[in-house]
Symmetry: C2
Subunit: 503 residues, 2 copies
């Protein structure tokens, strides 16, 4: 992914001050700090966060007139002892998972990365259900917001514990997420997101005091959100494009961020067009009988050879379930071996297929071999979940290609991002027709590009500015306005097929 | 006082928007507002207050896509129905009294003015006592702050009730006060204000969200404070200079703001020098036996002719006590009639002097004539209170004159401000030696100039900028560093005398 020069908006400086004296220097305490910033670091300070001002006098005296002063642009947002490490937090707020990156703001190094589940899943796995819940009352809406804010505070705490640091030293935070997650986190209105014409309350980048968002970081810190593009194309999409450097060069290139919603961007001829598809949580391991997140024991790679199953698990631990990439491999394997057909129907006569309560399932791992002594299977329903996701994503790709009058074969690069925690197998994705059939060298899986984009925007003022610019350039295509969309969708919803090939 | 062009930092615009449409305009709700501001009013909006964003979508829909948008500089800080009146509040936060002015932000007209007592007086009449109280614990400090914030919220409510308006439509607030009041209100540290070398935590102007100050005005509004100059020369002093246009012309001019602390500024040869004196609350009617604020029935003017007393009361109501200007007249009258001597000792043999519990007092109004059937007197202690105040103020004037090598006679203008609620008699002030003996035409009493200055800074961006500049230019003189200060003070502490004349 893109490398970047370390030039963050929030920057710390060590200041050594002389104490005030009745006879020759009665400058106020803040004035001493701003004078040192000006004289010794050539930085102008035009304002101070009121919470920083509220402790400045006893702080400076107890630190014997030495401190680290942090400026965000021209505002003094933090003051800490000279030895204090200044930190920043980049977050990808996913519908299902929240990924956080703790960064050392002196060198720009990532000190730790970690994730927590999005506790809003308790109120609905998908965005629409959550927004319906929030709509019931202001208390409901507040609960959704508080839950995610709590999770972010816990995530910050966890990252700081891991690195033996203090979350009160986190002086900057950049957060990305889809538009709904972004709005629910900031407490912005969401009802208009689920009613036609599905517009965001706010698209532009927001710079909000963490205290106004309920976050418990450095008292004067800001949380910054990248811009949204449309109701279903959010800041995470912009972050992904930032990280994958898909900024509209001449060569046709595609970038996908696969998640509960999958956003896809086509860059060609200097134009950026984006679309969003409701792909469901299958690739995050949800709605799948033995699905799980990419934790220890999750099957992340799987191969079906002559009916034999070989696999690899996270940490090499005994298998306990399937994460997104494992599910994809399993369905691709079953399809290649003709154990499921293009509609996802399972061959009940296969020796490894068993029927439980009338429902067929393919046994991947026998109970005796599994880490928790329970067989790991792929059910026919699992296959259908994957089929739905596959159809939605492939139809989205087709909508973009048609809008620019391109054929899939003309794509020179396909970047595949997603917060799976592990990389999907491109060949499996091509096999089931989720991705177009191109030479494998043109595909580039990149992991959590949204999180990486958030980190870039935090580390570089240029990247932060690029993100705003890019968001304004992206043309959003609303599938409902595409002629023939239903037909495109229907044709994409077979295993192994893309809409073009079905033409 | 100075007139000013209406050009406020917070300004409202009516916007008429077209609703979003799936087929041709999917701009976000905020984007619609900023586009209209740009296209129809030539105003750029770069950010939005998060609380405004939190209701923007249902608001715009319920107002049928018409609204009043208020920008503070380039931030959208309020959105209200198109018919809504936008208001602003200017406040002079005095140690004893709080004066507020409610202004219509469409035309800059003052709609109402009112005052409330500063509830912090319950914890001490003077600043030092209050700060000692605040120092005891963070709860004590919080209580002082909450009390004054409550009073400000009540004052806003009162002004809005008077004018049948809504305090949630107050989109801007400018507050001035002495440094201690300023710090206590914003929750800034105060301990260093009462310990040598008495420096402010913050001198520069502050722009703070009202929610961060505990105020309940428009959710996105700012409260702005003018800059402080020193620990005992605050934003109210800067506001007074702004209102009296004492900005350092060549002709020697003096401006005094008489209150519990009296700040004095000498402008001469393009230089501004200021000093502060602890004059006590006598001129606010406190520490005076029958003192009261300038409410109905307060004696505001008084004359002692051949032992007879004539007077004028506020509202012409039957007399119930003395406000600051009345006390001053009484002491001047007693001194002129030789009933008190230069040290403030009262002639016990005078027919109107009675001795109660060994303490002499002069009867101004007999019980039968008084509004509350209680005699109104001036006690010898009252005279001594006035003497202390007079001495402190006159010594301050002398310190400034000496610092610039001027004699009192050279002063071409003397502006007298003070939140007395009524104007003091200049001739009385000259008689007792509070002010130097100059032709009466050179004196200009102006009432509450600090409040007027706050209003100017609110109505005019230029005046707001002038205030910052002026504050940086003012040279503060710390009396403790003036050689001979004790002698100057001692000589000023006689009735009828100034230090120069005693030389």
């Amino acid at each position: 992914m893109t490398e970047v020069e370390f030039d963050p908006a929030a920057r710390s400086y060590e200041v050594e001050l002389s104490p005030p004296s009745l006879s020759d220097d009665l400058t106020d305490d803040l004035g001493r700090v701003t004078r040192a910033l000006e004289q010794n670091h050539d930085r102008t300070c035009r304002s101070v966060d009121v919470d920083v001002a509220r402790t400045i006098s006893p702080d400076l005296r107890s630190w014997d007139w030495c401190a680290r002063a942090t400026l965000y642009e021209e505002e003094l947002i933090a003051l800490s002892p000279p030895s204090g490490l200044q930190l920043a937090l980049a977050v990808d707020l996913g519908t299902t998972k929240i990924a956080g990156y703790l960064v050392d703001m002196e060198r720009g190094k990532t000190l730790a990365a970690d994730g927590v589940m999005n506790p809003q899943t308790a109120y609905g796995e998908d965005i629409v259900t959550r927004i319906s819940y929030a709509r019931k009352s202001t208390e409901h809406a507040a609960r959704l917001r508080e839950d995610v804010v709590d999770a972010l505070n816990r995530l910050a705490h966890k990252l700081c514990q891991k690195t033996d640091t203090d979350r009160l030293h986190i002086v900057d935070m950049v957060l990305v997420g889809n538009t709904a997650m972004h709005h629910l986190f900031l407490g912005l209105p969401t009802e208009q997101l689920v009613r036609s014409p599905y517009v965001p309350a706010v698209s532009r980048a927001m710079v909000v005091k963490t205290r106004d968002a309920g976050l418990e970081l450095a008292p004067g810190a800001y949380v910054r959100t990248l811009p949204n593009v449309a109701g279903y194309v959010g800041a995470d999409h912009v972050a992904m494009l930032l990280a994958t450097d898909l900024q509209g060069g001449p060569a046709p290139a595609l970038a996908l961020d696969i998640g509960t919603n999958t956003e896809i961007c086509l860059s060609a001829d200097g134009k950026l067009t984006s679309v969003s598809c409701a792909s469901g949580p299958a690739f995050e391991g949800a709605h799948i009988e033995h699905g799980m997140r990419a934790a220890s024991g999750a099957i992340e790679r799987l191969d079906l050879m002559d009916g034999d199953v070989t696999y690899r698990t996270v940490d090499g631990a005994p298998p306990v379930g399937l994460c997104g990439s494992g599910i994809l491999d399993a369905v691709a394997g079953l399809y290649s071996a003709d154990i499921v057909d293009i509609r996802g129907a399972m061959d009940r006569s296969h020796k490894r297929v068993r029927v439980t309560n009338g429902r067929p399932e393919f046994v991947l791992v026998e109970a005796g071999e599994a880490g928790n002594q329970r067989a790991i299977t792929v059910t026919q329903r699992d296959v259908r979940e994957v089929l739905l996701a596959k159809g939605a994503i492939r139809a989205g790709i087709e909508v973009l290609l048609r809008a620019q009058g391109l054929r899939a074969e003309e794509l020179e690069r396909v970047v595949i991002a997603g917060a799976f925690g592990c990389y999907i197998s491109v060949s499996s994705a091509v096999k089931i027709g989720l991705l177009p059939d191109l030479p494998l060298g043109r595909f580039k899986p990149v992991g959590n590009a949204a999180g990486a984009g958030a980190r870039l925007a935090m580390l570089s003022q240029d990247k932060w500015a690029d993100a705003q610019q890019m968001a304004r350039r992206i043309e959003y295509i609303e599938p409902a306005t595409v002629p023939d969309f239903d037909r495109i969708m229907a044709r994409a919803s077979y295993l192994g097929e893309g809409p073009s090939s079905a033409e």
